[in-house]
């Protein structure tokens, strides 16, 4: 880790209005994630893990407070600006892989590059490199239904990496996999963090998965319970 801050949440509150009730998820939450960190976020259901991931990924906006990414505010961006920001800065890895079933592995991995100005040849070269990195170069033309869960998650990792984002957000990335395959995927994420310097935030219920992270944050009722980890 360099010590340089990648993400900073300052006094972030998030409230939802449901009927006549207002539900508070976060109340003046603070968090700093340095470049090159690998953070596991654990906590019971309803503790706000997914909401935190949404805020970090620019999928949702805070009700109050500021979110900065690489020194720039992202909580003030419009929907369209956020979409472009996500395309360049964030890679998403989901529990159920979220591959497009009608596209081959290569076409799935290529998706984020379609939002860039790269030409077809450059896109192909990058897709081949990304699939090689996750050990699936020979599976480029296969469709998701022709691959195991572990292979699909590796394709999803290749897709998350293809546009070289600074941040990887993982939502239960091993929740649908057996232990051995889960360990393979986690080892790969660890490698991406240590060798390629990717900053990773991973939501998980699995304490074994959390061990692969550099540190673990415990969320409960919208607050981190290990105060020393909170900025």
């Amino acid at each position: 880790m360099t010590g340089q801050t990648l993400i900073h949440l300052q006094d972030v509150s998030k409230r939802f209005v449901k009927g006549k009730d207002t539900i508070t998820i976060f109340d003046h939450l603070g968090l700093t994630i340095p470049v090159g960190d690998f953070v596991a976020v654990m906590g019971p259901s309803g503790s706000g893990k997914t909401t935190l991931l949404n805020l970090l990924g620019g999928i949702d906006q805070p009700t109050e407070g500021a979110i900065t990414f690489d020194g720039a505010r992202v909580d003030t961006l419009t929907e369209g600006q956020l979409a472009r920001w996500r395309a360049h800065n964030v890679g998403f890895i989901f529990q159920f892989y979220n591959l497009m079933p009608t596209l081959s592995a290569a076409r799935n991995v290529e998706l984020p590059l379609l939002l860039t100005s790269f030409g077809r040849a450059e896109r192909r070269r990058r897709v081949e490199a990304a699939l090689s990195l996750v050990g699936l170069a020979e599976r480029a033309s296969h469709y998701p239904r022709e691959m195991s869960g572990g292979q699909q998650q590796r394709v999803a990792i290749a897709r998350a990496l293809i546009s070289d984002p600074k941040l990887l957000l993982c939502d239960e990335p091993t929740g649908d996999l057996d232990r051995a395959t889960a360990d393979e995927i986690l080892a790969m994420l660890q490698l991406l963090n240590r060798e390629m310097g990717k900053t990773i935030v991973m939501v998980t219920h699995d304490p074994e998965a959390a061990k692969y992270a550099r540190r673990t944050l415990h969320l409960d009722k919208g607050r981190f319970t290990e105060r020393d980890l909170v900025a």
């Binding site: 997914t50 949404n54 990924g57 999928i59 949702d60 929907e79 369209g80 979409a83 472009r84 996500r86 395309a87 360049h88 998403f92 989901f94 529990q95 159920f96 979220n98 497009m100 079933p101 009608t102 596209l103 076409r107 998706l111 984020p112 379609l114 939002l115 860039t116 100005s117 897709r159 939502d171």
Partner: protein, 405 residues
Amino acid sequence: MRVFNEIAVVTVICIKSIPQRFWASLSTVVAVGLVVTVLLAFLAMAAGFQQTLRGTGAKDMAILMRAGAQAELNSGVSRDQARLIEEAPGVLKGPDGKPLVSPELYVIVDAVKKSALPDDGNMKKAPKSNVTLRGLGPAGIAVRPGLKIVEGRRFTPGTNELMVGRALQKDFVGMNLGDTVKLGNASWVVVGVFELDGSVFESELWADTPVVQDLFHRQNVFQSIRARLTSPDALLALKDYAANDPQLKLDVTTEADYYAQQASRTSDLIQKLGWPLAIAMAFGALAGALNTMYSSVAARAQEIATLRCIGFSGTSSFLGTLAESLVLSLAGGILGALVTWAAFDGLTASTLSGTTFSQIVFTFRLTPAVALQGVILALIVGFVGGFFPAWRAARIPIVEAYGTP
């Protein structure tokens, strides 16, 4: 380029996912196809009818009828008026030096369609249809140079002999060469079958004017006068001549214009029946398309949300979903056009003309312009049926990406 890539890939994803909802998609295609078939059947009928009537008239043939008469049926022209027209300027003369002017009688008679004949073949039980019996003078055939007698011969003046149009012969009972036909109180013998460029005359019976006048008690009265002109421009001289002679209270027009007007009246009526029916049915197809597309959006909610999460815009989701709907409806439109072509194109039918009150035999024509109208209706159904689901697709919350598969 980036935006194009974005839209193209979402469109491909949407279209490639159609087989995942095969039966729902197929039902939409069939429903749209049915709507298009109904519409195109009517339009092909109107086009065929119009083609038959518009192909009838010649620009250098004048038709003269009583002033204000909309059709030959309600016109009346005297023998004296016919004589005056023979001396009019602009009228072409035949090789014998006589003017090519044909006073014609127009009588409605009964005949039985082959399709209306009962199984036991009893003509008396069969419903009757109106057909035109045209009384022609000696110049009647000379003014129609395209006439071809394909079977038999011309009628002999002064006899109860008939010539039958080819279309009428095919569609009606007892109109073959040598058959005896009862018209009014007299029996007639078919001695010839003629063709005339597929025109409306092929739906008529022709006989000698004096005999028809005698048997139908129409002495010294005709319904119209046809006069072959030296050129289409000569119509003006003939019009001036008729307007300046107080004995000639006649409307003068070209035969081409007369039949074009007749065609548009009836084909307008057919279209006015066809379009509302098709539009009413289109609402049913629209409900099917909406249902299919909402199902499609619901089934792909996680895919759409994932693409949005990656950075794709809501616009690409909107256009991709709309494209899926348009592809389904286009398939329905093409299916409808193909079914219409297979089932109706070239089919011969007859219908009662609204102005002549007689049967006109025509052929359904599915022209490219007609087929295009059906495809456009299909695309409208697809557009409306896809618009609202596409709107929903564009507004799917991105957090749906985290859902269960």
